[in-house]
Amino acid sequence: MLTVLLAIGILVLLSLIFGAILGYANVRFHVEGDPIVDQIDALLPQTQCGQCGHPGCRPYAEAIANGEAINHCPPGGQATIQALADLLDVEAIPLDGDHGTETAKRVAVIREDECIGCTKCIQACPVDAILGAAKQMHTVIADECTGCDLCVEPCPVDCIDMVEVGVTAKTWSWDKPQGIAATSLNIIATDRQTEVAH
């Protein structure tokens, strides 16, 4: 009986001491901040398109930090999912089709002679990339446009087109070579397509 009590006593004592140490350390060495949200936010494409179901990229970053799936961002596509998976050390999963599909880079263009100057697109634009005033023609600053599509819906006269950013001689770049004995690898498509790199 005494041994049992002694054992329990010693364990309790140890626990108390260690608990005290940790408690003290927790107060003494307390640090603020949750940088993981910032890190996640930095990886998101900042289109602020809301396709993930959140009003902007930062809210989605916060949602991811709270455990939401990382595959809800179509503008970022697989590259962003991969980067997030690396950061959070989770499995990279394919893009969730419910939130849209990955498309080529696009910008909004207003057909200016059809624009009635209603300013609705200006209000919708999350990055202030549309210029114009009431009853004046509006225009999109192409450099600032993130291609988020948000201005298309509100336009009462449907004068906004999403135009794919084409390739010019200045922006053109070499393709990635096809790899080892490219011609001989055609038959083994399954071997390469299904794999998700780590």
Partner: protein
């Protein structure tokens, strides 16, 4: 002349030279081709800006395009002829894409324009010489095409120890520089002397490979004769000793630090071709219009070097060198190590084309299939930059950009030595190029997403602030309402008791009017909101009803405002009348009111400025701010005047407020912004006009140029904050005129667009008819509607055109009036007119909207076509009358302003 010391560099390879083929025949001079294609982007940096229009006649050597910014170049006509087009053509680029080119159809006379050589280059300032070189279109002819004057300017940063002339020409097959040295030895040496005069280097060294004995001998002879100090450094043949960095290491033993330029370590490199071009430009005044190019390869029966006009299509040269199309398998521009394949022989020779290699399949067999990298290290032994190519390959394959950068991927000069020696036939250079561009793209994307984030956050902050402010205002209003109502009650009897326009009564009245206006406005707003909602939900009847209400409400508000203006106007008169008597009380009241105005405007101004800080591009805000500032000034003036009058009991006079210089500056800024916007707009119009090939295109181009000039001017003015007061003022005076001019231009463009629109619509209808569609189908399509719209627009624009200045002034004034109405500031004499103008404008807009709506209805309900059409006609009539009225009003307003 003494022998220079030679160092060595790591790596390098010895591919088969294949230089003898093209040196068999003497220098050739091909005939004029049927057309010359001159790409606008032949150099690194911004593309040149064309100076000529289609149809222009040009003489040989005439400038046809000018530089477009700092890092850009001039372009000259290589022969005399006619500009037949300025359009996208295939260019010499690895992508095989097209770019904008000027096409010249030669007249065969080859008539030179008047040449103006720079005879006294020793005597004039170096900056002028550099500017002259820039105008002669001289760029580095070695490969990258760096504008020479920029490179020379860069060389002034540090005192130069070495001026190196690159004659190494290490690529196999190419002998253009070799031939150039042989043919133009004296010109080359003279060119070097000119450049040496410009840069004053300690040593001048010509670096040349030992496989060009004839050229070395020729150079030595000339240098010996001239007793020149220029050294010749004969370097052993090894690829890529002609690379700038490698040649520098060979001749000086120094390395160009990563990410820096040779100029940073006091070295300047120039290609021999550039030196000759400099000589020709300065001594003869000849711009860069031709170059030496090697035509070689097994697919040519007569490989040789040619002096060829820029813009000559490669196909023409292949014919000249008797190509055998059957043998031709790969067409390479440049050498076999760094050149790129061409898709088509239609591409032109540009300033940097040193070789056309028409290879047969046997000569350059297709590469073997890529095998696995076995890390044999042969690439590492060959790399002239001492990189680890195989490691870079692994990182490139696995897209590990950070590691690739850490392994100095960006120090790769893409010389191809690693691919050349790779036993597994891996296209290493392509991997590196791909990875480099991916990294650059990723960087740009990061910058862009950061920017987007910033803007998003700024917007959110602004919205939050606005919401908070609204909330605060709402609360304040809730508190204020009871007291205000009491005040009103008090004021009402006073109003009734004072039939005369006594000063205190006037104030009361104006107060009441203001309240009325505010109420009317809020009603108007509400109605507008309803209207908007109705429009969204497409309740047709409601819309027209609401619109009617809105118009009425607007009229009511305008009426009230008019009254207010009159009352306020009456106030100073009353004050004046009272001034003879010692009557401080009313003046005091007046003063109080003015002070309140000042405070009010000040607050509003501050708020707007804050908004402006958030969104610096918001033109509307800027406009508002200026008007507010002006108002503030006026109000302050009034305050000071009134206080003066209370002190001295002197009558207040209504002198025009003096505008401060800061205001002028601000205005200037706004003007500049407007001008810029105009430029953009014109550019857009131009594009559009080009699309539909409107006849006005040239006019628009002219306008674009003018607008750009205007914008530049304004920007210049802005850039000089040190301008004296008078200057600013004069500019400020000029500015509104320019705005008018811009507006007129804009109108013209609009007109052009409208005309084009009409044409397009007509064409489309015609097309539909041709396609056999019957009338109803055509009616159902959007084109008739568009046609009517476009015609309307055209008519309106034409009407406006007749009084372009007045309308522009009107637009200019519009902002002011609006702001005044909103701020409830002191009334100005033109207030009345402005309000009317505004009203009419609204009427015009409404009528237009109605027409649109009717048109839409017509579309949806073709059975009521008759009645609707009638309505349309009547509305159109209304519109026209409204427009006419508007015009008149604007006219009178302008007159008024001019009188003042």
């Amino acid at each position: 002349m003494q022998a220079a010391k030679i160092f060595s560099f790591h790596g390098g390879i010895h591919p088969a030279e294949n230089k003898a083929q093209s040196l068999q025949l003497p220098l050739g001079r091909p005939s004029l081709p049927s057309e010359l294609i001159l790409p606008l982007g032949q150099h690194i940096g911004q593309s040149s800006r064309p100076l000529v229009k289609v149809g222009d006649k040009v003489l040989k050597g005439e400038t046809i395009a000018i530089n477009n910014g700092f890092l850009s170049s001039f372009l000259h006509a290589p022969t005399s002829g006619t500009i037949t087009a300025i359009e996208e053509r295939l260019i010499a680029h690895p992508s095989g894409l097209s770019d904008l080119c000027i096409i010249i159809s030669p007249d065969g006379h080859d008539t030179w324009t008047t040449l103006e050589p720079l005879h006294h280059w020793q005597d004039i300032s170096k900056t002028d010489v550099l500017a002259y070189l820039s105008e002669m279109g001289i760029i580095g002819m070695g490969g990258a095409g760096f504008p020479t004057q920029v490179k020379l300017q860069g060389a002034y940063k540090n005192p130069l120890t070495h001026f190196i002339i690159n004659a190494a020409e290490c690529e196999p097959y190419i002998t253009a520089d070799d031939m150039l040295i042989r043919e133009k030895t004296l010109e080359l040496v003279l060119g070097i002397e000119i450049l040496q005069h410009l840069v004053q280097a300690d040593h001048v060294v010509i670096g040349i490979e030992d496989n060009k004995p004839t050229a070395i001998a020729a150079l030595q002879a000339v240098l010996g004769k001239r007793n020149s100090k220029i050294q010749i450094a004969v370097v052993p043949t090894k690829y890529p000793s002609g690379g700038e960095k490698q040649l520098i290491q060979l001749l000086t033993g120094k390395e160009v630090p990563s990410g820096q330029y040779p100029a940073d370590i006091g070295i300047l490199c120039q290609n021999v071709g550039t030196c000759v071009a400099v000589h020709d430009a300065i001594t003869f005044g000849k711009p860069l219009i031709s170059r030496f190019t090697t035509l070689t390869g097994d697919a040519l029966k007569a490989p040789q070097n040619v002096e060829v006009l820029l813009g000559t299509p490669v196909a023409h040269l292949l014919d000249y060198a008797e190509s055998e199309p059957k043998k031709l398998n790969r067409l390479i521009m440049g050498g076999p190590m760094m050149g790129y394949t061409l898709n088509s022989a239609a591409v032109p020779i540009v300033k940097t084309s040193n070789c056309i290699l028409a290879a047969s399949k046997k000569e350059l067999p297709p590469p073997a299939p890529e095998q696995a990298c076995i890390r044999c290290g042969m690439c590492e032994q060959a790399c002239p930059a001492s990189l680890l190519p195989q490691q870079l390959l692994w990182f490139s394959k696995s897209q590990e950009f950070e590691k690739a950068e850490h392994h100095n991927l960006f120090d790769c000069i893409e010389c191809g030595a690693c691919s050349y020696v790779c036993p597994s036939s891996i296209p290493l250079v392509q991997y590196y190029r791909h990875t480099k561009s991916s990294i650059r793209e990723a960087r740009e994307a990061t910058v862009k997403s950061d920017l987007a984030k910033q803007r998003f956050e700024a917007r959110k902050a602004r919205q939050d602030a606005e919401a908070a402010e609204k909330e605060a205002k709402r609360l304040a209003r809730q508190k204020a309402t009871p007291s205000k109502a009491a005040e009103e009650k008090k004021a009402a009897p006073a109003n009734a008791a004072a039939p005369l326009a006594a000063a205190p009564a006037t104030t009361d009245e104006s107060k009441k009017l203001k309240v009325d206006i505010a109420i009317g406005k809020s009603k108007l707003k509400k109605l507008q909101k309803q209207l908007l909602e109705a429009q969204e939900n497409e309740h047709v009847e409601e819309i027209s009803n609401l619109q009617l209400q809105v118009t009425e409400q607007e009229k009511a508000v305008a009426l009230l405002e008019e009254q207010l203006a009159k009352t306020v106007e009456a106030a100073p008169i009353a004050a004046e009348a009272n001034a003879t008597k010692p009557a401080p009380a009313p003046v005091n009241d007046e003063l109080k009111k003015a002070k309140v105005d000042v405070a009010l405007i000040g607050v509003k101004l501050k708020k707007l400025q804050k908004q402006l800080a958030d969104t610096p591009d918001d033109q509307e805000l800027k406009d508002k701010i200026t008007t507010f500032e002006a108002d503030l000034k006026t109000a302050q003036d009034t305050v000071s005047k009134l206080s003066d009058s209370t002190q001295t009991t002197m009558s207040a006079s209504t002198t025009e407020p003096k505008t401060a210089i800061s205001d002028e500056l601000k205005k200037l800024k706004i003007d500049a912004a407007i001008a810029k916007a105009a430029v953009k707009k014109v550019e857009k119009a131009l594009k559009k006009a080009e699309e539909i090939q409107a006849p006005e295109i040239n006019a628009i181009r002219q306008q674009l140029k003018e607008a750009q000039q205007r914008a530049d001017e304004l920007e210049n003015a802005l850039a000089n904050p040190a301008t004296t007061t008078t200057k600013t003022e004069t500019i400020a005076e000029v500015a509104p005129n320019s705005v008018d001019a811009d507006a007129a231009k804009k109108r013209k463009i609009d007109l052009a667009i409208a005309k084009a629109g009409v044409k397009k619509a007509e064409k489309n209808i015609q097309l539909l008819k041709e396609q056999g569609k019957d009338e109803s189908e055509i009616e159902a399509s959007e084109w008739p509607k568009k046609l009517i719209e476009a015609q309307e627009k055209l008519a309106a624009l034409e009407a406006e055109e007749s009084t372009p200045v007045t309308t522009s002034v009107a637009t200019h004034v519009e902002g002011t009036t609006e702001a005044i109405a909103k701020s409830q500031a002191k009334a100005e004499p033109e207030m009345d007119l402005a309000n009317q103008i505004k009203k009419e404008k609204i009427a015009v807009a409404l009528a237009k909207a109605q027409i649109n709506k009717l048109n839409k209805r017509l579309e949806s309900a073709p059975e009521d076509a008759d009645s609707i059409n009638q309505e349309i006609t009547s509305t159109e009539q209304r519109l026209q009358s409204a427009e006419a009225l508007l015009e008149k009003l604007i006219h009178s307003q302008t007159n008024l302003q001019e009188n003042r």
